[in-house]
């Protein structure tokens, strides 16, 4: 591809923005008068990332450049890139939203996402840098049967990435639609095309820089918002939280959440309840199970593992995790202020009215802090936060697509089909680019096909599979002498099948009877609710009046949703697996599937001894600990 081609493509993509704006705009959080502003900010950020891709594209010549940026990323850069790869829209908008809706439980949820990096730091990052090359399967193939490892490794990477990717594409499409009102399909295609441009031309070099830019923008946006939220309280934490719990909007939210017991509580007690656990998480074992999937799954996520191949040494790998932990942890602490700030200033009900999951908490808070819906600064801040959210989705998707494409091109095409490194470098890069287009097209197709589906649990499932299959396999091949090809094949298959299988019979799947019962309850209670609200609407107290209006919107939405749900499950009695009710009660399978995955590797290894695996053990163990020949890993 010539320079002119690249330039034309870059400008073409920037030019797409106003086109999308004029052709596909509906109602979003941004009011129409300020939509031009939103698109200007979007275009500026896209132009910046396109410029980076343009520069990066010149540097991508070999497979190593494409997959790992030639191993030339520094620890600090990689730390920011890991944060950019990891902080998906689910954590940027989702956790702030959870805190704004459920208080304490939302904050508690964020902790596991940081603690996960302890596992990465202590047992995964450095050994993987020392013996790995481009993919997860490279690590497994070092001492075990290479062909078998590349097949199971690649399948697992593709499975995990597809789950995660689907959640990101669908979530991203909905998000962009809610924020700026462009059609869902157009949003999904825009995310997909942009991501393809970064990965296809710039490979890991561009992906790394897009992730760094996104992480920096995300931290700047959050810092500005937190300073604006917190400074009126003289940066005192008790004073800020005191004001949050004294707010009638917050107190009303708690009263709605806890129901009858609220009647005997004072407003102050209700407010304080917002800072106590139990408003969101009802089943403790479920929470522990989710925690296990996070803490052990992050270390098995292919797009995170891949980031450690981009640094030159184990020391830089370690440094990058420490930086990533500082950035990610710092970001979650800022989220505490964003979430509680949004609850205090925008109000839980007003946030839920725009998006039931609370995802609009941070953008709406930005708009409020800038001066409100009608003001220029308010809309500029909303536009900026929206653009950061968009960049977030694209950066995460780029990392995922690169991981899946490397599994297809490097493991399956070069490793299995051609049986090793005999493929010329140019052809390897071409295979990687073709795989990227295939995965990208698949992501866009799945994104559009899954419109309207509830895919939030797919992220948890991706973590569960990574924790139950990838993590035991990588850990034991690095640290256990007797680990063998049979063990890894067993672990990958059993871990994945158990995690996915348990999810398919868990409460995450639709059970028509339960949906019908829940919807019926909403519809049965509608008349009483409506007459109560109509009474309140006659009130002369402006606060009661305002609350009643919000309640009315909420009720209308709930009724519409209940009717839709009823229609959706009409005539059905069983889940798609033929079950009337869940067989497995937990939402996350981790607590069962992680130990089962470990046992599978253990028994598989003991049952099927493998001489090569044991003969290469001293080499693997010496290399992972000392980094001997690490810089010459490709010579293996």
């Amino acid at each position: 591809m010539t320079v002119q081609h690249r330039k034309a493509l870059a400008w073409g993509l920037v030019g797409l923005v106003p086109l999308v704006c004029t052709t596909a705009c509906a109602q979003g959080a941004v009011i129409p008068e300020y939509r031009w502003l939103t698109f200007t900010v979007f275009a500026a950020i896209i132009a910046l990332t396109m410029y980076v891709t343009y520069v990066a594209a010149k540097r991508v010549k070999s497979a190593s450049d494409f997959y790992t940026a030639g191993g030339g990323v520094t620890g600090l850069q990689n730390g920011w890139a890991i944060a950019g790869d990891y902080l998906s829209a689910a954590s940027f908008l989702g956790i702030a939203g959870l805190i704004s809706q459920y208080g304490y439980d939302g904050f508690m949820y964020s902790v596991g996402w940081l603690v996960a990096y302890i596992t990465v730091l202590l047992v995964i990052a450095e050994p993987c840098r020392n013996i790995g090359r481009y993919t997860l399967a490279d690590i497994l193939a070092y001492r075990n049967n290479p062909k078998a490892m590349r097949i199971v490794g690649a399948l697992s990477v593709i499975t995990v990435s597809t789950f995660y990717l689907t959640a990101q594409m669908v979530g991203g499409g909905v998000l962009v639609k809610t924020l700026i009102g462009i059609d869902y399909e157009v949003s999904v295609i825009a995310v997909g095309v942009l991501m393809l441009a970064y990965v296809l031309f710039g490979g890991m070099v561009a992906t790394t820089w897009v992730q760094i830019i996104k992480a920096v923008l995300l931290v700047i946006a959050s810092l500005v918002l937190v300073i604006l939220v917190w400074s009126p309280y003289g940066f005192s934490l008790p004073a800020f939280l005191q004001d949050v719990v004294s707010d009638p909007k917050v107190q009303a939210r708690v009263a709605t959440l806890i129901g009858d017991p609220a009647k005997t509580m004072t407003p102050a007690e209700l407010g304080q309840r917002f800072l106590e656990p139990g408003l969101y998480f009802k089943a403790p074992i479920d929470q522990v199970s989710l925690g296990m999937a996070l803490v052990f799954g992050t270390a098995g996520l292919p797009h995170i593992l891949m980031r450690f191949f981009t640094v030159p040494t184990a020391q830089q790998a370690r440094k990058s995790v420490v930086w990533a932990m500082a950035i990610i942890g710092g970001f979650y602490v800022l989220t505490l202020f964003l979430g509680f700030g949004a609850a205090r200033f925008v109000g839980p009900a007003a946030i839920a009215a725009v998006d039931a999951g609370g995802n609009m908490a941070a953008p709406l808070l930005a708009q409020y802090l800038g001066g409100g819906t009608g003001s220029f600064p308010g809309n500029f801040m909303l536009a900026f936060v929206s653009a950061v959210a968009f960049a977030t989705i694209v950066a995460v998707v780029a990392g995922l697509v690169l991981a899946a494409a490397s599994a297809i091109a490097h493991d399956l095409y070069v490793g299995v089909y051609h049986g090793g490194d005999t493929v010329p470098p140019r052809q390897q890069v071409r295979a990687a680019r073709i795989a990227t287009v295939v995965v990208g097209a698949m992501a866009i197709t799945i994104g559009i096909a899954a419109k309207g589906q509830n895919v939030a649990h797919l992220v948890a499932l991706a973590f569960a599979v990574a924790a139950s299959a990838n993590f035991p396999c990588v850990l034991l091949t690095l640290y256990w002498k007797r680990c063998s090809t049979g063990g890894i094949v067993a672990g990958m298959i059993v871990g994945t099948v158990v995690a996915v299988g348990l999810t398919l019979v868990s409460p995450n799947v639709t059970y028509p009877k339960a949906v019908r019962a829940a919807s019926q309850k909403v519809l049965d209670g509608e008349a009483d609710r409506r007459s109560a609200i109509e009474q309140a609407l006659l009130s002369t107290d402006s606060r009661v009046l305002e609350k009643a209006r919000v309640d009315l919107t909420t009720l209308d939405k709930a009724v519409t949703r209940a009717k839709d749900d009823m229609a959706r499950v009409e005539g059905q009695e069983r889940s798609f697996l033929g079950l009337e009710e869940p067989v497995f009660e937990l939402k996350n399978p981790g607590i069962i599937s992680i130990p089962v995955g470990f046992l599978a590797v253990l028994f598989g290894s003991l049952l099927f001894r493998d001489r090569r695996s044991e003969e290469l053990w001293p080499e693997v163990y010496a290399r992972q600990n000392t980094g001997i020949l690490a810089s010459k890993a490709s010579a293996h």
């Binding site: 939280l241 005191q242 656990p277 139990g278 403790p284």
Partner: protein, 109 residues
């Protein structure tokens, strides 16, 4: 690229310096890992079964639960810092010595 030196890997892992590195590192990593995981799970377990404790106000409206959740962040950072300091000062030095010797083809006595 020159062919990599042939290394007797069994000699590396039976080298006393490697044994020392292995012993110190393994104990240290296992200890930190177990501590971090146990400390993390105290949070969801506490939030589920010790709500009365989590509710106690200690600083204005700030209660034990909030402070404990904030402590989780601090502890994660401290563990990361502590590990990277020990690794940087001790493990790296040992690993570099061993790597340098064997990469040059010199087998230690």
């Amino acid at each position: 690229m020159a062919a990599p030196p042939t290394i007797d890997w069994s000699a590396v892992i039976s080298d006393p310096r490697f044994q020392t590195l292995h012993r110190r590192k393994q104990g240290f990593l296992a200890g930190l890992m177990v501590f971090s995981v146990v400390f993390y799970f105290l949070l969801p377990i506490g939030a589920a079964y010790f709500q009365d404790l989590f509710r106690i106000k200690v600083w204005g409206v700030i209660n034990v639960g909030l402070l404990f959740a904030l402590t989780e962040f601090v502890v994660a950072w401290v563990v990361a810092f502590y590990y990277s300091r020990r690794a940087g000062s001790e493990f790296d030095r040992l690993a570099r010595e061993i790597a340098a010797d064997y990469e040059r083809g010199k087998v230690a006595p």
